[in-house]
């Protein structure tokens, strides 16, 4: 058995009460997707759990195809996001060929 990172001591999400977020598999491919999300959502906070990375953003989270493609160095269609998403919270407001937007509809 090897020692693993302590999964308990992780930074909390932003202390905002209208956070939205996604949890992605901690894999080679999703690492670039996560980098893209952080680049496009400067207020994002990351936390790690075994096998998982949680990304949380106040208000609105966007995943942009162009940013992901730039980091992956290959074409990437937004449907491919299904391959790394584990769960999310918020409401999927938009999912087209250029971007995926997660936000609450009616909260301020």
């Amino acid at each position: 058995m090897t020692a693993a990172a302590d999964p308990v001591t992780q930074p909390p999400d932003n202390p905002s009460n209208n956070n939205v977020g996604v949890e992605l598999q901690d894999s080679e491919e999703s690492r670039k997707v996560i980098e893209a999300i952080v680049a496009d959502n400067p207020a994002a906070t990351l936390s790690h759990r075994p096998g998982l990375v949680r990304v949380s953003v106040p208000g609105r989270l966007v995943v942009r195809r162009e940013t992901v493609e730039g980091l992956l160095g290959r074409p990437w269609e937004t449907h491919e996001f299904q391959m790394c998403i584990v769960t999310y919270y918020g409401h999927i407001g938009e999912w087209d060929e250029d971007e995926i937007v997660i936000a609450w509809d009616h909260s301020s």
Partner: protein, 504 residues
């Protein structure tokens, strides 16, 4: 031909394949669409944010399966089961296979029904995809865990156990309740309450626990299934919003269903709570922490303020769930430990470091309420015994969990509620379960109650061995972990490995 945009493709490949009936009327074609009182004026207003079409559905689902089967092969080829944290970890997976996998199959069947009976082309297509997803989940879970069946007890006969064993009637009766409701109530029950409100509490802890305890195949099927789950969550939230937007008269009906199904779903998660805090040799997060993050923060602070726009309130009885978060897992695991002679997994007294972890994570309750129980069990063991409860417990008529939960604010007083119906008395574990019964007594009086069935002579016979044989339980499936077949094998395999290394 120019390439269509995702929106156009979605429209062409789902909505455009729908048609208006000409030689039968709509009532006849969709006979279950109206009896629940939900009014839909325009089915075309249904949104599917995933814009999933059949071609991309198959493309990505096939890729997900390819990845999973590659992992299953390499894990089996490398004797991966020996690198688990401990054989006792697999108790969590036995509970999963017995309790959850058969629900996936039930969901497959019922979403196929929705794919026939919902009136709009968009939701019908979403339901068909989910039906195929659920079948894939049932199959991949069985296939993944079958690898352990070669080496460990408790994995055989899960389907028979699901239909018969007492604690498995909790998830089974929950789903039976949902599939015997109308299509809109089912959407609120399963798609919204089970899969949106509580999905993270149900599934993510199993998967992260698998990852942390060296169970690569389960982690992989879990993540593979969860990627579908985010689509299912979307269907759940969309269906709620759609009903609320279509007619103001739908709001009180939906609120009632949310009140009912939050509590029904929450009671099922009690089994997950005990799994997280007691069954994992290496623990990822406590039930309390998961509940605060995934339910209080994401749902009570995020989702419900959003739904208040439609006039929807947080679920009735939600405060009791919040108040119970320091108690729930301890009460449930103690029950599983006490009745462990009749279970399809083993239980044991937590080790010292585990007790310390429980104290640290439950500073307000563990040392004063629950540690003394474990110390007592330990004294019994030191005297050569094992504490098992003698006799059968009274069950809650609604959730079918034994009456183990305590009065709000009094953690040492067992709560007991009851109602009278047609001259008979029915018992409940909580205000939530009583409220649910009182809304639909004619439904819940029909419940198949495992303890009543034993007393009525329908479970193999009057003695414990006869009932266990009827459950399909074999030597080593249940009881105490220390000294069990699984533990002895585990030690034997690892000693064999060590002596092989030493002799090189």
């Amino acid at each position: 031909m120019p390439k269509l945009s995702m929106k156009q493709r979605y429209s062409v490949l789902t909505r455009d394949l729908d048609w208006e009936p000409s030689y039968v009327d709509e009532e006849e074609l969709f006979p279950h669409a109206t009896f629940e009182g939900i009014k839909i004026h325009d089915w075309s207003k249904w949104e599917d944010p995933f814009r999933l079409t059949v071609d991309s559905y198959y493309k990505y689902q096939a890729e997900k399966d390819r990845r999973l089967y590659a992992v299953l092969d390499s894990f089996a080829q490398s004797q991966g089961h020996l690198s688990l944290s401990d054989a006792s970890y697999l108790n969590a997976m036995k509970l999963f296979l017995q309790g959850v996998t058969p629900l996936e199959y039930q969901a497959h069947r019922h979403f196929a029904y929705l794919g026939r009976h919902l009136k709009g082309g968009g939701p019908r297509f979403a339901a068909i995809c989910q039906s195929i997803d659920e079948l894939r989940h049932a199959q991949t879970e069985i296939h993944t865990l079958s690898g352990y069946n070669k080496h460990y007890s408790g994995f055989h006969g899960f389907s028979r156990m699901h239909d018969r064993v007492w604690y498995l009637s909790v998830p089974k009766s929950f789903f039976d309740d949902a599939v015997s409701a109308g299509p809109f109530e089912f959407l609120t029950a399963i798609s919204f309450s089970f899969e949106y409100l509580l999905t993270n509490l149900l599934f993510v802890p199993f998967m992260s626990g698998a990852s942390f305890n060296g169970d690569l195949p389960t982690m992989t099927f879990g993540f593979s299934a969860q990627s579908d789950e985010s689509r299912h969550m979307t269907l759940g939230l969309e269906s709620i919003k759609f009903m609320l937007e279509q007619d103001e008269g739908n709001v009180p009906i939906v609120q009632d269903w949310i009140d009912k199904w939050f509590w029904r779903s929450y009671r099922v998660t009690a089994l997950v709570a005990s799994m997280m805090d007691y069954q994992l040799p290496r623990r990822v997060m406590s039930w309390k922490e998961a509940f605060e993050l995934y339910f209080e923060q994401q749902m009570l602070e995020g989702l419900f303020p959003d739904l208040s726009y439609y006039g929807i309130n947080p679920p009735r009885h939600v405060q009791q769930a919040v108040d119970e978060k320091d108690l729930l897992s301890h009460q449930v695991y103690w029950t599983l430990f006490s009745f462990g002679f009749a279970a399809g997994f083993t239980t044991s007294i937590p080790h010292d470091d585990h007790l310390e972890w429980l104290s640290a994570n439950y500073p307000d309750t563990f040392d004063n309420l629950y540690r003394p129980q474990w110390e007592k069990a330990r004294r019994i063991r030191e005297g050569g015994g094992r504490f098992f409860f003698q006799g059968l417990p009274q069950l809650c008529q609604t959730c079918q969990i034994p009456m183990i939960f305590t009065e709000p604010g009094s953690p040492t007083v067992i709560a007991q509620r009851w109602s009278e119906h047609r001259g008979e008395k029915f018992n409940f574990c909580s205000d939530g379960c009583k409220w649910i019964f009182d809304r639909e007594p004619e439904k819940y009086v029909q419940a198949w109650m495992p303890v009543h069935q034993i007393y009525q002579g329908n479970c193999g016979g009057p003695t414990v061995p006869e009932v266990l044989a009827w459950y399909g339980l074999e030597e080593g499936d249940g009881g105490e972990y220390e000294g069990s077949v699984d533990q002895r094998n585990w030690q034997h395999w690892h000693e064999a490995q060590l002596s092989e290394v030493a002799s090189r």
